[in-house]
Symmetry: C2
Subunit: 161 residues, 2 copies
């Protein structure tokens, strides 16, 4: 698998070159930003290991590494909400991926049931910091797109405190 990726021997080649030389962190993971290819909405932020990246490239369907389950994770395998990759990009120092996708069925990507994982907004301004303890979020999505209990049943919730 390592032959698919170039060695990271020179900053200029990493930043300006055309060889894929991804940097996986100490846990063997690289962060992935997943946006809706049509709207630009940020759907989720997750991680891939080497195997997930190769699977994603090969199949054109999003594969991640689940940190909570510690396993390769074919997004949508349980829920049916497959993410079809329209475009896959990498950043300047090659330590982050951007995946532009279209999502099957309802188009949702969040295990809580919302379309996007980012369904709450943080207030801005000095008054936000001065007057609220703790700072109060507002919801930007008003309804869930599916019932997580129906889809995931008794599967453990991936959220960790």
């Amino acid at each position: 698998m390592t032959t698919l990726f170039a060695d990271r021997t020179c900053v200029e080649a990493v930043e300006e070159g055309t060889s894929l030389a991804p940097k996986f962190n100490q846990a063997g993971l690289i962060p992935v930003v997943t946006t809706d290819a049509q709207t630009g909405e940020l759907l989720m932020h997750a991680y891939m290991n080497q195997a997930a990246l190769v699977k994603t490239i090969e199949t054109g369907e999003a594969h991640y590494y689940s940190r909570s389950r510690q396993t390769l994770w074919h997004k949508g395998a349980t829920s049916g909400l497959i993410q079809y990759v329209q475009q896959l990009l990498i950043d300047d120092d090659q330590d982050c991926l951007w995946m532009r996708v279209t999502v099957a069925d309802s188009g949702a990507s969040c295990h809580v049931g919302y379309r996007s994982c980012f369904y709450r907004q943080i207030p801005l301004g000095t008054e936000a910091v001065r007057e609220n303890y703790p700072i109060t979020l507002t919801f930007t999505e008003t309804a869930k797109t599916f019932d997580p209990q129906l889809i995931y049943g008794d599967t453990p919730n991936p959220t960790q405190l």
Copy 2:
């Protein structure tokens, strides 16, 4: 500062509540996805510590934590390319932020000189994996928006191998 944030005592409150209870990783950091508020383009992926998050909320201008320089980083302080925060959101388990910004001047956000840090695309499909060693990237931006040497001079390059 801790009184600004709620304690993370219950999964339901973290996912469905209205109290800001961000999760900072073992290094004290939370990943931040920064997109262009108009186009949805992913500009950069970086990190905040607690101080950077509070500064961003207070001022409405993007502050990050620079891992390479190990310091609070007011984006644009050197280059003039300030990021004005239009909307700041947090995800389901509150371990990632989404910042929708407009950028001053040329609108660029990448230290290499491109508009977005994500200026190279990874090919998809089984032939991409089978025929190329290493996998070959293609550029999606064809020209730089500024000359990094003029802006940053001899400042050390943040890219780490």
